[in-house]
């Protein structure tokens, strides 16, 4: 299994509170991603990072921010959580950009279940 640790694994919070999810990798992969998984939607990309301090938006980035101060850590922050952000959040990593001619494999963590009341 790829060395990816997500924390916390479960969190219940109230609307309007800030929440930070952490992803830590031991693989030294360049790319890191945050996805959310919702029934009927599969996995949708929130933000990704292609290096320290280098990040970009994904398909569903509104209401989320990210930071990557070290190669191994990628943080996802909900500045003011809303009920629509109740979801399971997955961190993923890849050695090269997805879709690359050599390999596009994403390695996923085990997820963080967030409930916003």
């Amino acid at each position: 299994d790829a060395g990816i640790t997500q924390s916390p694994r479960h969190k219940v919070t109230e609307t309007g509170t800030p929440v930070t999810l952490r992803c830590h990798q031991t693989e030294n992969h360049r790319y890191m991603y945050w996805y959310r998984q919702d029934p009927g939607h599969g996995l949708r990309l929130i933000h990704y990072s292609y290096g320290v301090k280098d990040t970009d938006k994904g398909e569903v980035s509104d209401g989320y921010s990210v930071s990557r101060s070290k190669t191994e850590d990628f943080l996802l922050t909900l500045e003011s959580a809303t009920s629509s952000q109740t979801s399971v959040y997955f961190c993923a990593i890849s050695e090269v950009v997805v879709g690359h001619v050599l390999t596009g494999e994403l390695f996923f963590g085990e997820g963080s279940r967030l409930t916003v009341l």
């Binding site: 990816i4 790319y31 991603y33 009927g40 939607h41 599969g42 996995l43 949708r44 990309l45 990704y48 292609y50 970009d56 994904g58 398909e59 997955f90 993923a92 950009v97 997805v98 879709g99 690359h100 001619v101 596009g104 494999e105 994403l106 390695f107 996923f108 963590g109 085990e110 997820g111």
Partner: protein
């Protein structure tokens, strides 16, 4: 707007049967089509992937069939086993693009 449409939403198959999951895509720029397998409480894991220069790829009991003109691809699981019970996601991405698009998922149950 979902760029990758997956069906069926759920599937029940008897042990030893063939499981078939279908996906259709819209963006002709997609050139990488993986399938991910997810067990309850775990993250998805790559099962098998194909590029559009071939029409079929087989790895053990798992086969991807790809129809470029129809913009469709499917996963076939031969001799399905109870251990194959999981949720399967198809996906697609463009060349060197980090925004991989996933289908909505298919929950497969293989009955013993």
């Amino acid at each position: 707007q979902q760029q990758v449409k997956q069906s069926p939403q759920s599937l029940i198959v008897q042990k030893g049967g063939i499981s078939i999951i279908n996906c259709a895509y819209e963006n002709t720029a997609f050139d990488y089509f993986p399938w991910y397998q997810q067990f309850p409480g775990k993250g998805p894991a790559l099962l098998i992937a194909i590029r559009p220069d071939v029409s079929e790829k087989k790895e053990g009991r798992f086969t991807i069939s790809f129809n470029k003109s129809a913009k469709q691809f499917s996963l076939h699981i031969m001799d399905s086993q109870p251990g194959d019970s999981a949720t399967y996601f198809c996906a697609a991405s463009r060349p060197d693009n980090n925004d991989m698009r996933f289908g909505a998922g298919t929950r497969l149950t293989v009955k013993p």
